[in-house]
Every structure is written in C-alpha cells, then in structure tokens.
C-alpha cells in the first residue's frame, strides 16, 4: 500500500509546495493570478523547482537529502504558505470578493482553451503513467546517469563524494544539476524503497503539466483555435511521446521548463500596457528559468537565451525580466559553487574543448554537424518543412498586425538555441576530420542525442505557425491609435490618457492582459 500511497502523497506535497511558492513569489493566489488550469500546471513545475533547489542546498551543506529531518518540514512550510488565508490587499481568501486584477467572473475568455488544455494534459499524464509505470530503468543514460544519481541521493542519503565528486571511478557528468534526480529520489523516499514506477509517474505528470500550461498560455496569447492546433503539434513532436516520455531522464523536464518559460516571456512581451500586473508572470518566469537551469546543463543555455531575447524585446519591462533571470540563476548558485569547489568541469565547455587549437581542428565539422542535426531533427520530415514555411508566412502576418515582439522572441530562441547546440557538437568533436575515430563518434553522438536536446527549438518552430497565425488575427499595435502607437514605441504606457478617461478604453484584444488591466482600472480603489 505504501508503494502506492507514499508516492501519491509525495506528488501532492510537490504540488502544494509549488502552489505556495507561486503565491509567495507572485503575491497573488495562483488560481486567481493565472487561472485554475495554468495554476495547477505551474504549481507542479514550481514544486519540482523548489524541491530541486532545496535538495541541492541541503546536499551541498552536507545534510541528508532524505525527506526527514530537513526537506519535508521546510517544504511543508512552503505548502502551508499557499494555504493560509491572507488579509493582504489584493489577495482574498474567500470567493465572495473578487480579486481586482483577476479575470472577470462574468467573462471568462480563456475557458474553452483552458478546458481543452486541462483535458489534454490529464489524458496524456494518465496514458504515460499507465504505459510506463511497469518499465524498469534500462536505457543507457537512465542507468549510467539519472537513475544512478537518483539512487545515490535516496539510498546513500546525500551528495556522497564517492559518487558525486570522486572522478577516479569514472562516474559520468558529475557536473549535471540535481533537480531531476532530486524529484525521483523524493518519490523513492515516499515509496519506502527505490521505485522506478514512481519516477515514471513524475515524468508523466511533467508531460501533463506541459500540455496544461502550454495550452492555456497559447490560448491567452493567440486564442483557443491556435492553442488547439499548437497543442496537437506539441504533443505530436516526433519522439516526445514515443520514447522520451517513457524514459527516466531529464530531457522532457528541461524541455518542459524551457518551453513554458518561453511562452511566459511571450506573454510578458505581448502585453502592451506596461502597467499590467506583470509581477505574477515574471515570478513564474523566474521559477521556470530556475527549473530549466537546474534540470540539465543545456537548460542554462535555454533559459539564458530566452531571458536575453526577452530583455531585447520587452521594452518597458526589461528590469522585471532581468530580475527574473537573475533570480533563476541565483537559486542555482549553490550547485555552481559545489561544482567549482570540486572541479566538476563541463564536458562541453572546458579547457580542452575551448582551447584555440582544438576549436581550429574541429571547426571543419560544422557543415557535417549541421547536416546531421537536420537529419535527426525532431519532426524534420516534409511535415516539418511545411510547418517551418507556415511559421514564416504567419510571422509576416503577425508582424503586420503589430506583433513583432513575439515573432522576434521566438525567432531568437529557435535560432540561437539551435546555434548553441550546433556549436556544442562541433566543440566536443573528438578530433579533426582526418582522425578516423572522430567521424563515427560524432555521428553516433548526433544520432543518439539530437532528437532529445533539440526538442525546444523543434517544438517552438512547430508551434510558431499557429501561434503567429492566431496573433495575426488579434491586432496588436495595429489596433492602437497613432498616439498610443507612439507611446508604445517609446516604451511608455500607450493608454496613459485613455485610462484616465475611461476604464473600458484599455480593452484591446490580442493581449493576455486585456481583462486583467481593464478590470484593474475599472475597479474602485
């Protein structure tokens, strides 16, 4: 019975912890700030991030990574923080008084999209959990890396230096962050013994949370039709369901964090108001960024690129984006410090791979790597090419409708992450093309990893078509008066005059902030 109820309790606590963290970070009740469906999905991601941060911290401090005596009580406090009633202005425990910044109860523009996203997420989570719960860890990276570290955390009870530091026994990727092993180890502890089924359930919930959050955010960005099409494309990205959702590795987790982070930043930059309640979404961005960084090494690149792109286009909100990015990085500093202190160097960026001589010798591989990435790109078939063309056409329409910011942000994230991945493959090539061992090793690496690590740019490129098409149907600057457009371009609130004249003036479709800002402005002080 404990095998079943224990992990269920562990999962519930992660959700409650995430809910509490979101409430503390955003200053608002999550279901009111984001809507019920995104709040549930985001609570899972926030809970995973909080668990990862805390496990890493107690491990680095030399304490036990088992739930007692530190982890569970501290996380319990977070969970309680989300449940206690609050009397803070703007945050109401009861349902009788409306949160002035919340969606108006009489008009729920995201209801259909949220319901579709919730159903899709729930169905997928149940399916993946049902199919995968009986699969023992048996893939290379599962046993050589992720589950090995999981069992070290849960069975040895901490960052045992024989596994996490000592390089003599050949343990791999000791510099990899701990969020995913921390989550699996947490569920091991609740199950009372090593439990691959519990870890599979965690991956299944992550898949479900991804769909719930992505669907509801796409609805807010581009409408329910675009969200439905985007969800179909997301869930059908080749290999995502067929293999990766069944594996106990970090690829689905880092992808989910990074993909949702990009969508949240899209929400932030498409808000034309500049004075809308951005804090909750920026808090979410910080949490998702922290999760991406803490899940896998390339998460640092994914989050860094997303935040940098956000900084570039989020005029008027740059400080908020910067603070969110800095917070995401800061909570991962304990692991960075631990890695540095124990000389756990990255296999991608180290003094060997980054030496001028090595780079000069492997640079000729660039074309070969590019071709290999195209060959193994998730969804790189004729359908993928069709989607890319559709994304280009839709991007033109969206820009013409005034939505150049989301187009630029998506374009930057797709191209720069792809470039970084390409550079990673080139830099880690074994040797120059004249070395007979280098080619087969590189080809093997491309075959085994591209479909996993390129999920973020591949999925974003796939979803970009419906996203931009949906945006094109919702006027951005094109719907503003010339005066408002001028304010917009100069980084000021385009509705400064209008909002003082009339509450309903600020209602512009095409923004996730329509209802919130309108409602906020029309509410009595």
């Amino acid at each position: 019975m404990r095998q079943l109820l224990g992990p269920a309790a562990g999962v519930a606590l992660v959700l409650l912890v995430g809910h509490g963290l979101l409430r503390l970070a955003s200053g608002r009740r999550p279901h009111r700030a984001f809507g019920i469906v995104p709040a549930v999905g985001l609570s899972w991601f926030a809970g995973v991030a909080a668990l990862g941060v805390l496990t890493t911290l107690v491990g680095v401090l030399g304490l036990t990574t088992r739930p007692l005596p530190v982890l569970a009580p501290v996380l319990g406090l977070f969970a309680l923080a989300g449940l206690v009633p609050s009397r803070r202005p703007g945050e109401h425990a009861g349902g009788d008084r409306a949160d002035p910044a919340a969606e108006p109860a009489t008009r729920r523009p995201y209801l259909v999209g949220d319901l579709v996203a919730a159903a899709a997420g729930l169905l997928l989570a149940v399916r993946v959990a049902t199919l995968s719960a009986g699969i023992p860890a048996s893939a290379n990276d599962e046993y050589a890396l992720w589950m090995l570290r999981t069992r070290a955390l849960s069975q040895l009870g901490g960052l045992d230096p024989r596994v996490f530091v000592d390089g003599s026994a050949g343990y791999q990727h000791q510099e990899y962050p701990l969020f995913v092993p921390a989550l699996f180890a947490w569920l091991d502890s609740w199950a009372g013994r090593p439990s691959d089924p519990a870890a599979h359930v965690a991956v299944a919930i992550t898949c479900g949370a991804l769909l719930a959050v992505a669907g509801s955010l796409l609805t807010r960005l581009a409408g329910p039709a675009a969200a439905a099409a985007g969800l179909l494309l997301l869930v059908s990205v080749p290999t995502l369901l067929a293999t990766q959702a069944l594996r106990l590795m970090a690829d689905v987790t880092v992808f989910s964090f990074a993909f949702c982070l990009t969508l949240v930043l899209l929400l932030v930059v498409t808000d034309p108001h500049r004075q809308g309640p951005a804090r909750p979404w920026l808090a979410v961005a910080a949490v998702l960024g922290a999760g991406a960084i803490g899940s896998k090494s390339e998460g640092l690149a994914f989050a860094g690129i997303a935040f940098a792109a956000g900084l570039l286009v989020a005029t008027g909100r740059r400080r908020g984006v910067l603070v969110a990015g800095a917070a995401a990085l800061a909570v991962n500093l304990p692991w960075t410090a631990y890695s540095r202190a124990h000389h756990l160097s990255s296999w991608v960026a180290n003094q060997d791979t980054l030496s001028l001589g090595h780079l000069r010798s492997v640079l000729p591989w660039t074309g070969h790597v590019a071709r290999g990435m195209v060959e193994h790109w998730p969804g790189g078939s004729w359908a993928g090419a069709l989607l890319a063309v559709a994304a280009l056409v839709a991007a033109v329409l969206a820009v013409r409708a005034g939505h150049w910011r989301p187009v630029v942000l998506v374009a930057l994230v797709v191209t720069v992450t792809t470039g970084v991945l390409l550079a990673q493959y080139v830099a880690t090539a074994y040797g120059p093309p004249s070395d007979p061992r280098a080619g087969p090793l590189l080809d093997s690496q491309l075959t085994v990893t591209v479909f996993r690590v390129a999920l973020l740019p591949a999925a974003l490129l796939a979803v970009a078509g419906p996203l931009f098409a949906g945006l094109a149907l919702r006027p951005g600057y094109a719907g503003l008066t010339p005066c408002q457009q001028m304010n917009m371009k100069s980084g000021r609130n385009p509705y400064r005059r209008a909002s003082s004249e009339s509450a309903t003036t600020a209602q512009v479709s095409g923004s996730a902030w329509d209802s919130t800002s309108t409602s906020s402005q029309s509410s009595p002080p």
């Binding site: 995968s132 699969i135 869930v235 094109a472």
Partner: protein
C-alpha cells in the same frame, strides 16, 4: 463607452491565410499523432516485457549474470564500496580519465557494461581502491586472493571476494 478606435478587424486575406495555417497545423498534428501513440505503445510494451531477477532487469548480460548481480547486491551491505573487475578491452576514446589500471573500475573495459554494473549494485559505489573490502570479478577469474579473504564463486569468472 469606448473613446478610442476599436481594434481593427484583420483583412479578409489575412484571416483566410491564418485560417489555412491553423487548419494545416492541426492536420499535421492529427496526421502525426496516431503514429506517435502507436510507437509509444510498442516501446512501452517492450520495456514492460523485460524479465527481472531480484528486481534487476535482465538486459544483454542475460539472466545468469543478472542473478550474480542480485547475489552481490544481497551480500554487500548498502553503502559499502565495491571494486569492479572486468575483462580488459581497448581504451574508449570517450574515456575522460587520464590514467588508470586496465580492467579495474571501468577503465579500459566495456563502458556500457560497467555503468550497468554500477547501477545494478545500487547504493554500493564503485571504487578503484585495491584495498577495498569487496571486489566483484565480472567475467574475470581472480588471481591469488589476499590472505584472509574469502571468495564466493557464483560461476566461472563471476566471483565476489571479501577481504
């Protein structure tokens, strides 16, 4: 009352092109999804059908060697280090260590097998220490055993030695 211009309705051409893109995107998703779900079911069924010996999945080493691993896991207390000895192979170009004793603790051996052994032993970390209390010979006949040590011979070349 609205005081500014209402949002402009997109031109019919824009609406038409956007609608085509949305429909095409949904069609691509719908066309791909059944294949992905079928592949998922097949992959999952194959994974679930893995035989297990003492909660250790039987992979390419086969059931007999897996039973040896289960025996070692039962004999060595959790938390104690195990020195793993395997047949020597050519040094892998992926080997990151700059030196080591061939055949010991994953150096110049089949790496894929080594990592599987390390994982299968679960909470018994691998060590290169020649004075380790436990040594597992996996496919290698032990030489002369140190004085005072005891060996459990599971099969030829599959021996657990305790000092």
């Amino acid at each position: 009352m609205r005081t500014d211009a209402a949002p402009r309705r997109p031109a019919p051409l824009v609406r038409g092109v956007a609608a085509v893109i949305l429909v095409a995107a949904a069609a691509v998703g719908l066309a791909r999804l059944p294949g992905e779900l079928a592949d998922q079911s097949r992959t999952a069924a194959a994974g679930r059908s893995l035989q297990q010996v003492g909660s250790i999945p039987v992979l390419s080493p086969g059931p007999r060697r897996t039973a040896f691993l289960a025996y070692v896991r039962g004999a060595v207390p959790p938390g104690e280090s195990v020195r793993i000895v395997q047949p020597v192979t050519a040094l892998s170009p992926l080997e990151g260590r700059r030196g080591g004793r061939p055949g010991i603790c994953g150096y110049s051996v089949s790496r894929i097998t080594y990592y599987w052994l390390v994982y299968a032993l679960e909470s018994r970390p691998s060590t290169c220490d020649p004075n380790a209390r436990w040594t597992m010979y996996y496919g290698v006949r032990p030489g002369v055993l140190p004085a005072g040590s005891s060996a459990h011979r599971f099969a030829d070349g599959y021996v657990l030695v305790r000092r």
